[in-house]
Every structure is written in C-alpha cells, then in structure tokens.
Amino acid sequence: MTGANPQLNAQGQLRHFLTLDGLDRAQLTGILDHAEGFLSVARQPVKKVPLCRGKIIANLFFENSTRTRTTFELAAKRLSADVLNLNISTSATAKGETLLDTLRNLEAMHVDMFVVRHSDSGAAHFIARHAAPHVSVINAGDGCHAHPTQGMLDMFTIRQHKGDIAGLKVAIVGDILHSRVARSQINALNILGAAEVRVIAPRTLIPAAAGEALGVQVFHDLRAGIADCDVIIMLRLQHERMTGGFLPSEHEYFFLFGLTEKRLASAKPDAIVMHPGPINRGVEMDSEVADGPRSVILEQVSNGLAIRMAVMSTCLGSHNLSGQAPATEAAHD
C-alpha cells in the first residue's frame, strides 16, 4: 500500500528525482544513456548546450557541501540554465514554515527546479509534496535516505568498466546503516539486474531487516563477503561511529573490515574497487589498494556532470508534457 510514485507525472515520466527506489530499469538505463550523450559536451570547445535555456535552477543546500553543489551548478550551467545558489543554515531555518516560505519566494521568481540537500531523511519528498506543479525537485542527498544522482554516477562508472551492471556481483563494505549513498547504490544495482548485492559490516552498522528491505545478502566477514565479486565499494567511515557506540575503534575496524591487497585476492582477478573519497587510509583500506591498479576514482568529475545533466534535463523535459506525445525520431525533420 505505497500509493502512486510521487516522482512521476501523470504520464509516468520522471518529474522529480527523489530516490531510485520504485523506478524501473528502462528509466535508469535512459538516464545512463543520456549521460553518455552529455559526456561528449565536455569535448566541445563550447562546453554548453542550449537545452534548458531560460530555465531557472535553485540549489537549496541546507547542509554544506561545496563539492556536490559545484557539480550541480556546473551541470545546470552546461545546460544553459540560470542558477541560484542558496546555502541555508539548518539551525536558522529548522522549522518547516520557514522552509516553505523560502520555497514560495523562489517559486514566485519562476524557479523551475530545486536541487535539495538536507540532513533530514525525507526532506526532498517534503519539498516535492509542497512544490508548485511546474517545479521539479532533485534530491542531492537527504539524511540517511538517498543520494540518487550519486548512486547513478556510481552505476555509470561501473558500466564504463564492466560494460553492463546485469550479472555482476557487487559488495558494499562499511556503514550501511547511516549511508544514503549505499541505499541509492543498492536500489540501482538491484533495478539494473546485478546478480548479487552484498553488504559487509559488523551488525551495529547493518540496518534492521536489511536483507529483505533492501534486497541484499548480509555478510560480517570481509573475505567471505568479497569472494568472487566484480565490484567492491568501500564506504567512508565517519568518526562519529566510534563516539556513538557503533564501533570500538578505527583500529579494530581496519583489522576486521579494512581492504588490503591480500584480502582482495578472494575477489575476482579483474574486480574494481570504488570509494567515494576522501579515503581514510588505514581505516577503510590501505594505501596499496587505494593507489593500486584496481582502484577507481569514484567521483570522476566529467561523469558526475554528465549524470546530473541527464537527470536535470529529463525532469525539466517532463514539464510541458500535458497531452503531448513524447519525443520520437520522426518528429523533427
């Protein structure tokens, strides 16, 4: 009894991009394919396409992240959209009323899209629920819930190395409980037909009913968990997990879950290792793996831009579709 997917418009097209949960394979593949097309824009002397000319995109960042904001901003600018950046300290405007006031003001300026980053799970859903009908909302990370563009970027990177997601065995190692990136990666991997998605961590960092709720195999032993895997994703360990009583020490974490060349031997010989960066060397993995040939720098800037351009243009493109047939080959001779 989950009701209609709040991300889709009446024609079943993506209007918002809040979570990958509930989307289908064609939708995700479409975004990856479009991103492929946008990659070529970076090779143009004029690194800009006129697709979203005249659109206004507002970056609403309630949680500071210069890196993520910059990629969204540049992606929007490459689509020829105008960009407003708003860094709103959560402490000053924690109350919903103020948040909605901010939205209404921006809507009055004819903003077409909000890119939202917030420390509360569900914040992007909340904004989407209260946004005017002509406005799209992109989730740029909400609490521990989802970070769908990051998840898609990771799929894009895996696809570049492995050709296809379908049939792959992928292991995600670390703090699944608090990771919005892991949730989006798991959703994407399952939707795109990965043969097996595994999560590896001590029980304190695996959320309740993870196997059933997320569709993963749960492991508590690193070597067994990465055996025969094609892709190993290492999550960043936040220092708060020690003070919060989830782990005794970084030392013991590395001893049990740190990735070393020796442990990597149980994965497939051509397995790639991914990490969102910046790496805590000697906590999540040692330098030999981090700098080794199998390590993939996850946040490839050009890939990140291409994915965000694809997501933004897909959502903005769903706006004036009332009754119109979707684009086809023959429509534009």
Partner: protein, 438 residues
C-alpha cells in the same frame, strides 16, 4: 448553564432504536425513556411518564456514550493546537461522552488546581466529561512523586506519566507503591527511554529503506518487562496505554494469566495501519508508539478479540497545521483521531474480528472499568450518556468536515461507516446532526 445546551427537555423518549448495552449484553430493538438527565426506563414507559419530546429512532443504534482512555485536549498551555471546548465538541459529534486526558499539559496535571481547571473548563463547555489523569511525578520530571491523594480528591481517576517514561526504576517503583496506597491505577506508556531515543518509526523494513532512525520493538518489551516486574513487586494496578508489538501482547497475556493486575489498550489506528503507511514520508502516519509490522497488527487484533487487550482508545493528538509542515523527522508525532474512533471500531465488526457488542465494549464499559468509573453502560438511574448513530451511513473522512482543531489523519479520504446522529450527556442533547439538505 453550559454553552453546549441552553434549553433541553427533562423528559424524552427515544423510540424504536436498536439498543446495545455491551456491559449487560442487552441487544434489542426497544424504546428508551429519559427523565431529569437519567435513564428512567427501557421498553414500556412508566404509567405517569409524559415525554416533552419523542425521538423517532428506528434504524438507528442507541449505545452508551463512548469512553476514550486517552485524548489530548491541549489545554492548558497549548491552545494554538486545540482547546478543551473545541475537542470536547468534536468528541460529542463523534459519540464520545467521557475522555481521559493525559497530564502533559502546561502546567502539568500534578496539582489539584490544574486538575480542577480542566474539569471546570470542560463542565463550562458542557460537551463531554473530562477526567484528567494526574501525573505520577512532579512536573512529569520522573524524580519526585506527586501528591497523588490530593489529585485523586480533585477528580483524577487514574495516574499517568503521559508518553514520557520514568527513567529511574527506583522512582517508578515508589510511584507505583504510593499510588497503590490509594487504589489508583497507573497508566504507563511502555517505552524504554534510552532505546527509543532519537527514533521516529518502527525499526524494520521501512526504517531501513527510508534511512529513518528506528524505535526497536525492544524499546516496548524492555519497558513492559520492567513495569510488569514492578507491578508484581508492588501489587500496584497498572494499565499499559497503547501497546504496539506482538511480543508485548504475549508478555501481557502471560502476566495476566499469572494474576498480575494489569490491563492494556490499543490505539484504534494500530489495528488498521502498519509501517507501510510511512512509505512516502507521510507525516500523517507519524505516531508514537510507531506503526509496526503486519505481524504486530494481527497480534494486536488477536489480543483485542481474546480480551487480553480490553480497550480501544483514540490517542487523539490534535496539532496545528504548521506542526506537520516540516520534513518528516521534524514533524510533530500524533494524529487527530476522535472522529475516527467509532467508525474504526465498527470496521472491526465489518472485518469479522468481533461481534458488534464486543467491539463496542472496548470503547465503552471496558474503558470505563479501567478508569474505575461507573459509566460506559446503559443503567437505569444512572446519568444518560448516550449516542444515537446511523450504522448504515458511509461518509468520506474529510479534513474540512472534521470538528477537531487537529486535521491530520492517515485515514483522510477513506470511507467511514457509522454516522452519529445525536449525543446525550446526562440527558442533555450535546450534539444534534442537522439533516442533510439534498
């Protein structure tokens, strides 16, 4: 004189309704005669009875006014959310004639003055009886026990700690012991504070999918275990307010079988909803204790059917619109439920869980018994608290139509069977539905 009813007949007859008194098992189509605010006779009227008004009620049900074990009226202190007047008026329209409100007002119900203020304000409004639960500890702080004897004299039938668990087992033990001295039942919302801390929703499938901090089942079972042990130790009578998990109902059944003086209720919405209701971060399904799994829901239903859980209550928590206009984790928990209590109780019958009289017992006589209050039944010579309803009218729950100041409900847009026609409080007509103009 109250503002609910300026003038009312002292003698009236209600003719041809199906009379159900869950307490006695009486269930017949019959006439009902009221005199001077009391129930005078059932069936044929006394020879010298001359009613000033006759109410033709064939096709309707006449039942005791509902008794709700937990409804927040928000007054004193939180009048931006609701008032005693607004909520008792909504209660009357929903067939509820008696409400017990928890002590978490501002100030807290820990002195006779606050208890009396609430009772007097309710009496002045005149829509329903309001019985405030006194606080077990001063300021609800969980440290020093309150003046329980004084609270009892001021009209608090029971004691409670609202939904703020007493952290110290030692304080809880003393509070239960002291309450037992005066025969006062203690309402306990079972939740272990440190296990529930920071949690928003049931720790399970949905909390995992949505990345929301969970409240584990153990938060409830650890508290139930402690409270049962303390009840056994002290001989105090305790009542679990709002169980939410299957495991806790098992512990309750086992404790009752061993003769511990313990009763329990369940919030009506817990019998119909599960954690799935929050799948799209719907703040209208944010409640405490949280909605749990289908297994839990079925166990709660089974416990109600078996009489282990003997009462169903609204756990009404009206909020102003802004309280929920925030991202899910910042929205206020609690929903507006006075107006769904009776339709949801009838729905249990529709779904075959309980026969109608048994379902009604959960919101009338059984609830009254837990309060140690003599109402909730049709008794000759007792104050005539009555609800006349048309069981066949189906309406759609609409925020605009709700009388409560709180408009948040996960049942909005759902069909609700059973429409209250008239409510009598001590023989006074406190709610009268205007006939629909076609």
């Amino acid at each position: 004189m109250t503002d609910a009813t300026a003038v009312h007949p002292t003698h009236l007859s209600i003719l041809g309704a199906r009379l159900i008194d869950p307490a006695s098992g009486f269930d017949q189509i019959s006439d009902l005669h009221l005199a001077d605010g009391k129930l005078l006779a059932v069936g044929a009227p006394p020879a010298d009875f001359h009613p000033e008004q006759r109410i033709e009620a064939s096709g309707l049900l006449a039942i005791p006014g509902l008794v709700d074990l937990c409804a927040r009226l928000r007054q004193p202190g939180l009048e931006q959310k609701a008032t005693i007047r607004s909520e008792t008026r909504a209660a009357a329209a929903a067939g509820i004639t008696t409400l017990c409100c928890p002590p978490d007002t501002q100030p807290v119900v820990d002195t006779p003055a606050v208890a009396q203020l609430i009772r007097q304000t309710a009496e002045a409004a005149g829509f329903a009886r309001v019985l405030p639960a006194g606080s077990l500890t001063q300021q609800l702080a969980g440290e020093q026990i309150s003046e329980m004897a004084a609270l009892q004299r001021a009209g608090c039938p029971v004691l409670s700690h609202a939904d703020r668990p007493i952290a110290s087992a030692r304080v809880q033990r003393r509070a239960l012991e002291y309450a037992a001295t005066f025969g006062l039942t203690c309402f306990l919302h079972p939740a272990n504070a440190s296990l529930a801390e920071g949690g928003l929703v049931h720790e399970g499938r949905l909390s995992t999918r949505l990345g929301l901090p969970g409240i584990p089942e153990a938060a409830e079972t650890v508290a139930v275990a402690r409270d049962l042990a303390l009840a056994e130790q002290t001989g105090a009578r305790i009542h679990f307010r709002g169980l939410s998990s299957a495991r806790a109902t098992e512990m309750l059944a086992e404790a009752r079988a061993r003769g511990i003086q313990v009763t329990a209720d369940v919030s009506a919405h817990q019998l119909f909803l599960t954690e799935e209701a929050i799948a799209t971060f719907d703040a209208n399904a944010l409640v405490r204790p949280p909605l749990r799994t289908e297994t839990d829901r079925q166990a709660l239903r089974a416990a109600v059917a078996a009489g282990v859980i003997s009462a169903i209550c609204s756990d009404h928590q009206p909020h102003e619109a802004d309280a929920k206009l925030a991202p899910f984790p910042q929205a206020a928990p609690g929903i507006s439920t006075l107006e769904t209590l009776l339709p949801l109780t009838l729905r249990l019958t529709d779904e075959g869980l309980l026969p109608l009289p048994a379902a009604l017992a959960c919101v009338t006589c059984h609830a009254a018994d837990i309060l140690g209050w003599p109402g909730g039944r049709l008794q000759l010579g007792a104050p005539a608290d009555l609800c006349l309803l048309d069981p066949n009218v189906i309406t759609t729950l609409d925020a605009e139509q709700m009388l409560s100041q709180g408009k948040h409900s996960p049942f909005l847009g759902q069909p609700m069977r059973g429409q209250v026609r008239q409510t009598f409080l001590g023989g006074c007509l406190v709610f009268d539905r205007k006939p629909q103009t076609p």
